[in-house]
Amino acid sequence: VARYQDKVYRLARRLTGNAADADEALQDTFLQVYRKLSGFRGEARFSTWLYRVATNAALMQRRGRMRRPAESLEEYLPRFDRAGRHATDSDHSRAAQADELLDRARLAARAQAALARLPERYRTPFVLRDLEEMPTLEVARVLGLTAAAVRQRVHRARLMMRGYLGHLVGVEP
């Protein structure tokens, strides 16, 4: 069960973007789990239910904060010319080595900041599916979306994050 504690914390940290909110969300999740046990009817898997509670706790924590006007990550989406070709001559493969090219602590800090800058409609599906590695259908269930919508949002988030990693190692989108 230390496993649940670690998972809930990691999820909350990825969704809220900072340690203090993640700590609050962790405590809140276990409190809610305790209070809402009657709401858990064994229809869903315990882990799915726990993820739903934890996701909501983390999102509430984030909403409780003053919203900073976040710069958009849209600028890191790939750019194309009129003929639909990549507009830059960049070596995109460098972004695939961002973790080797960058200092680990710096990358961790930048990754946290970038996640926080993703619009919520993209961040939550991306965190659950790509970072927490939940199956698409389970993400859809937790978020009340269709599987197709989850995939579409994860794809767009990945494009933005890919471009951002490239930016960190000096590659134009």
Binding site: V1, Y9, S38, G84, H86
Partner: protein, 453 residues
């Protein structure tokens, strides 16, 4: 490449393409486009790797304080729960019964957070398992990955009675021998039947660095003591760090990382007390440093505070709420008896301090605390000629040594940034830009022992 398929089209299909969900016809079109478009090939590679890179970069673990808060919360809930269950049993309505049943189902899960451990069973590191009152030695496997793996020699000495679990790590750097020689001696002196608590010995953290006679770096060019908590899909040093974090640090309650001067470093013995901002952990780490018995103790306030980028072995334990120290005794590739015996005696004293052994602990009575300290580094690659020796006192601005080019021209003159003592100095000529040349420490005027801040 079909005329219809552009880079933009390809990118639109990328998720389905990389996950094998595209219809065969469309897939063939994307394949054909990729064959003729190097930019898209690079793009696909980075698109595929993006989740993994971010997953690893954000694999945060709860700080000790958060985990402690949660344990308190769950303990509080469970004591309330016990009262509630009796009341529910008294009322006996269908709803309450269902609620009680659900609580009974899930509360044990929560309680396991509050009371880790449970009944005392065997203790394992990798495949090396010892029952209570027994000892076992064997290998912790680090599988092949992007480069060849290795196997780390470990011993598990599992005391007959419960108590703390001290992890002792030797040979993090390949040319530091005093700890590697001390650990088999220590193993022969430990009797698990007389122990209250357990000891995990890592005899040689990086066998490829040891057998390759490597200074500072493993065969992958990485310093094992800078890559914690490691990663399962990294190079061999990172995979070693990953395995040791999960199999040793996570299973211990306390840790001592034993070092000495590397093959090129002439060093006076000292310990590091790492200050993390967690008052209870820092106070316990300070007591470990005093119990180890080396009278010079460097107060190290500069270590990373992010558990996902803890970098150092001892810091990895500390950021997981486990008191830890790093010790330094010996150097220059030597195995002199005094340096080896200091490591061995230090660990025995730690075991006494933690009450794992029923023996007296040797606590330093008057430690020399070193607060301000600085590693002096080479700004140029060349030949290093030191002008000082270990343990020497130096005045601010006095000459520590010079780096010259191979023809004798001076590239760098290194001077003491403040008055202090030479804790170690590089004593062999080769030096590369950025590498350490020496370590100078200023003796603290604060009271002994210094307070936890």
């Amino acid at each position: 490449m079909t005329s219809a398929m552009t880079c933009r089209d390809g990118v639109a299909h990328l998720m389905d393409y990389t996950e094998g969900r595209l219809a065969p016809r469309l897939r063939a079109d994307v394949d054909a486009h990729l064959a003729g478009c190097p930019r898209c090939r690079g793009f696909v590679a980075s698109y595929r790797e993006t989740p993994r890179i971010l997953r690893n970069a954000t694999a945060w673990e709860p700080p000790a304080a958060a985990a402690r808060r949660l344990r308190r919360l769950v303990r509080g809930l469970s004591s309330r729960r016990r009262g509630g269950a009796e009341a529910a049993a008294g009322i006996g309505s269908g709803h309450s019964e269902r609620r009680t049943a659900m609580h009974l189902l899930v509360l044990p899960l929560l309680l396991a957070v509050a009371a880790p451990g449970g009944p005392r069973g065997p203790l394992s590191v990798g495949g090396v398992t010892a029952a209570p009152g027994q000892a076992a030695s064997g290998w912790l496997e680090v599988p092949d990955g992007v480069d060849p793996g290795t196997r780390i020699p470990v011993s598990v000495i599992h005391g007959a009675q419960p108590g703390p679990v001290l992890a002792v790590v030797a040979g993090t750097h390949g040319y530091e021998y005093t700890s590697v020689v001390a650990l088999p001696r220590l193993l022969s002196r430990l009797d698990p039947k007389r122990m209250s608590g357990s000891v995990l010995l890592v005899h040689m953290a990086s066998p490829p660095a040891f057998y390759g006679r490597r200074i500072y770096y493993g065969p992958d060019g990485k310093n094992l003591n800078r890559v914690y908590p490691g990663r399962a899909d990294g190079t061999v040093s990172e995979r070693i760090a990953h395995a040791l974090t999960r199999e040793v640090i996570d299973k211990a309650t306390h840790l001592a990382d034993l070092h000495c001067g590397d093959g090129n470093e002439s060093l006076r013995p000292y310990s590091y007390w790492m200050v993390s901002g967690q008052p209870d952990v820092d106070a316990a780490s300070r007591e470990l440093a005093l119990a180890f018995g080396l009278d010079h103790i460097v107060i190290d306030r500069g270590r990373p505070r992010d558990p996902a980028a803890s970098a150092y072995t001892a810091n990895t334990a500390i950021l997981r709420g486990k008191p830890a120290i790093t010790t330094e005794s010996g150097g220059m590739g030597l195995t002199d008896e005094a340096s080896v015996a200091a490591q061995e005696a230090g660990v025995l004293s730690l075991l006494a301090h933690l009450k794992i052994l029923d023996a007296p602990s040797v606590r330093v009575q008057h430690a020399v605390w070193i607060d301000r300290n600085e590693v002096l580094r080479a700004t140029a690659t060349g030949l290093w000629r030191p002008a000082v020796e270990k343990m020497q006192s130096v005045a601010a601005g006095s000459l520590i040594g010079r780096v010259t080019d191979p023809f004798g021209a001076v590239l760098q003159e290194v001077r003491a940034p403040f008055a202090g003592e030479i804790l170690y100095v590089v004593a062999t000529p080769p030096v590369s830009q950025g590498e350490p040349l020496g370590f100078v420490g200023e003796i603290s005027r604060e009271k002994d022992p210094p307070p936890v801040r």
